[in-house]
Amino acid sequence: MNKKLGIYICHCGGNISDYVDVEKVKKAIENEEGVAMAKTTMFACADSNQKEMVEDIKSNGLDGVIVASCSPKLHQITFRAVTERAGLNKYNYVHANIREQASWAHSDDKAGATEKAIHIVKAAIAKVRYAESLEPIKIKSKKAVAVFGAGVAGMKAAIELANMGSEVFLVEREFFVGGRTAQWDSVCTSNQSGGEIVSELYEKIKNHKNIILYTGAEAESYSGSIGDFHLKIRIKPSFVKSEFKKENIEKAISVCPVEVDDEFEFNLKKRKAIYQNKESEFPKRPVIDNINCTRCGECEKVCENIDFSQKEETVDLHVGSILMATGFDPYLPETGEFGFNAIDNVITLSQFQRLVSASNKELIYNGKKIKNIAYIYCVGSRQSEGENKFCSRYCCTTTIHSSIEAKKKFPGIFNFHFTRGIRTYGKQEALYHESSKMGDIYLQSYENDPPVVDIQNGKTIVKINDILTGTKEMMVEADLVVLVTGMTPRAENSIGSLFKLPKGRDKFFNEIHMKLRPVETVIDGITIAGTCQGPKNIAESVNSALSAATKSFSYVSKGELELEPIVAEVDKDTCTWCGICSEACPFDAIKKVDYNGKAVAVINNSNCKGCGMCLPVCPSDSIELIAFSNKEIESMIKLLAKD
């Protein structure tokens, strides 16, 4: 510990020396143990002084340097660079803040400021004595990213990642890509249909040399950490040969005796256990739904392309980063909620969109021609009682858009909007304006007095105490009631559990910080995009997807990651593994290993962020943070405490 130290005390052109007697500081410390040279300087940061420092370090063979000047936020980097230029490892530099925390803070008390400055410099000397040369932790990072979810967010992220130069594995749980966007025909502020958007993105994915797409695929297990994730992917068989004849498949579908609700149509229609992609879904291929298939063998009799011998496959992926874009589920109202499942002409917004899309010329539901449509907003969102306190953001605009589309497509329709206050934010306001101009009726109530859906004389009536007309009771006889259902987190969230992704109050995946790190999760190397993080429209999903893609790419682009060497260290001899440190670590950086026949904790340097949360919880005080060790902190305390 016999370091040769060089110390510079800065006047800062008077900013320090007007209040702190810098010469007195110099005298007070120049005889401290190890101090080989001490100087005062007018401007430590000036180019001339920096050059002098390099010379001093070299000619005196200094192995520890202190500059007492302004805040380390301003010039610590500058002086670390100086020590590096002189051939000294930059961690042998310690900064002493005698401007912001001495001369300026105590400009009313020159003696006090000088005393404090002396103590600060002495504490820096104590710290630099123990400073070690450190090298950044370098880890290899596989230039590949796994993207989970092939809706619009996942597909866009995959394409941009591939364009940026990463290898991409796009993993979709369903047999087809397109996600929710594939289920939307007309989407607002675009002339393209949802299907056209999906089709365009799919073409790019199919033809991109850097992207491999897995459909019917789910993550089974994972190990490793940032730069080096190992994933096992399970791929479901489709039980249909990759080469197939269209007419064979059609025959097979017609003979299949199993009929189930078609989820793509939000159960408005039925499908068979063997079925094909919809027009807006890709790839174009038939599949057998293994859960509902009874293996009756009827399809095999008429179709030679069926192959029940297909087995589940597993694939191992090695990636440097993971991007989650697993989307949302539309809210499913409870039975009786605004007459849902109780009154037969009450449907959800998702169903309504499919209905409008599938109907031609006339809008007919349950055999009845639709004239009056009542839209009840905020179903499953902004709940005062239920779990979903949040606003689903997209539904006001989407509903108004769909209602305009319906009115244009089926002349004679009247739209009645039962709202909680319209939220067509930004430019979407134009749509609200257009709808009002077209003669749509807007009514509003508060959450404590929602509209009521009722049957009177065999007719469906929607009643509201409308606050826009001085809280008058208004009544509409509706041929169709559309419940404007919001977005909810995916009900099936095994992937979130697998990766231990934290959720927010709203149960969507949570980012680290909405503004500073909006697409990063506390699991280093895993980013989140699109509606799995919270309600968004298509453009907003794409923005977040591309942000996540950029972030994920930055983890893998160089093939190597450089991490700060300020990490925790475990003393294996005194550690007796209790696991408390591992629980305290927010970054999953502490694991149990075997050491000379006993269990001890070990720090994974690539996950450790150097926060130190594991230090105070250790019962045997076996963990230290580099540069903040007991001896460093306690020797500083000792010097600061001295009179």
Partner: protein, 135 residues
């Protein structure tokens, strides 16, 4: 403030590099004065402060220890506030064992521009220590 020989108590502040230390810097920048016997040791995060360091400070002669915590601004995550709270609670227990008055350890969340609040905290802590603790 009373003008006497011993008007200042020695206070050790554990600040955090990214959040509260910048606020303490800004207090200086704005020339908001506080007792010059307030010293800071910056650490990465307030939830990484060891109770033994705090006890050590009392043993070495500090009258008070102040944790300028990250609060909800902590870059290492939401659990910081709770964990820092635990450290204070645990340290209070240890202080009790050693007959050190628990009021000599204080904590408050200091955001990165909370200079005024830092200075206020230091003045009132100093006053408390001067009047209540034998220095």
């Amino acid at each position: 403030m009373p003008v006497s020989n011993k008007k200042y108590a020695k206070i050790l502040v554990f600040s955090t590099e990214k959040i509260s230390d910048p606020a303490i810097d800004m207090a200086g920048l704005l020339k908001l004065h506080y007792p010059p016997t307030v010293y800071t040791i910056p650490v990465p995060c307030s939830s990484g402060i060891k109770p033994r360091w705090i006890l050590n400070a009392f043993e070495e002669g500090f009258s008070g220890v102040f944790i300028a915590a990250d609060g909800s601004d902590c870059p290492y995550g939401e659990s910081c506030t709770e964990k820092t709270g635990h450290i204070v609670a645990k340290t209070h227990e240890l202080m009790k064992e050693k007959n050190i008055e628990s009021a000599r350890l204080r904590m408050a969340a200091i955001c990165s521009v909370c200079s005024e609040s830092f200075v206020k905290q230091m003045k009132s802590f100093n006053e408390y220590l001067i009047n209540n603790v034998n220095n």
